[in-house]
Symmetry: C2
Subunit: 126 residues, 2 copies
DNA sequence: CTGTATCCATCTGGATACTG
DNA sequence: CAGTATCCAGATGGATACAG
């Protein structure tokens, strides 16, 4: 009769590259989730100026940089009409829409627990 | 007959301090979610050495620092027995258990979509 | 309107050595 | 075993000015 494994060994340790860690990395940018969430709310597509207006505090630089990353991941598609001035629109891809799922879960939880969050927030500030 | 508001104005903008943003800030540390998730898996309490073994890559410094933050937020309670060497145990508080919820949601989503995450990961590395 | 290029302050977190 | 103190490199991101 072997004794049961210590509790801590019943679950595999967190591999450096395990799925949850990857997810956290992918969502870790300061503006990543907000941009994706906004695109989602705006029907899956938006123009840069629209995003700037929708997300207070977002700078042009960080928006461009974040969107470029998302484009490389193929989470968004950049639709450009080469006129002057150019007309650009960013669209969530199918892959992007997939990763919007966990983001929306987070946002909804946050809204549902805004009271606890506000308490946490006020005691953090000082 | 007033025309409908443009899509982007149907939803309130993201206030700097809106609940979802606060949640993201609270979970943003590199090790925060992993430590909370581990505490949860380990039954809500663990000793420092246990956590170090459970989370590859975590340094003593970052563990201590993160746990101290969590203690200040009252997400964990530090139980210390003043002997030599000291016996310390960290326990999730009720508040901490509340915030474990969204973390577990994220982790579960990550595990369920590990295939997509691995694809995303391999194309990021280069 | 959209995107680029610099410059620069700050934050993050890892390595190491040391104390009780 | 648990925690602290330094030091330091690299990432992060904001401000500003410029270009197509």
């Amino acid at each position: 009769m072997t004794p049961p494994l210590p509790e801590e060994y019943r679950h595999p340790p967190f591999d450096e590259d395990c799925a949850p860690r990857q997810l956290l990395r992918l969502l870790s940018g300061k503006w990543t989730t907000m941009i994706l969430h906004s695109l989602h709310l705006l029907g899956g597509h938006a123009r840069p100026t629209q995003l700037m207006r929708a997300i207070p505090g977002l700078s042009k630089k960080m928006m461009t940089q974040t969107l470029k990353e998302l484009e490389q991941r193929q989470w968004v598609y950049r639709d450009i009409e080469q006129v002057m001035p150019p007309i650009v629109e960013y669209r969530l891809t199918e892959l992007g829409q997939l990763f919007v799922e966990p983001i929306e879960m987070l946002y909804q939880w946050g809204i549902a627990h805004s009271e606890a969050l506000n308490r946490a927030y006020s005691s953090e500030k000082p």
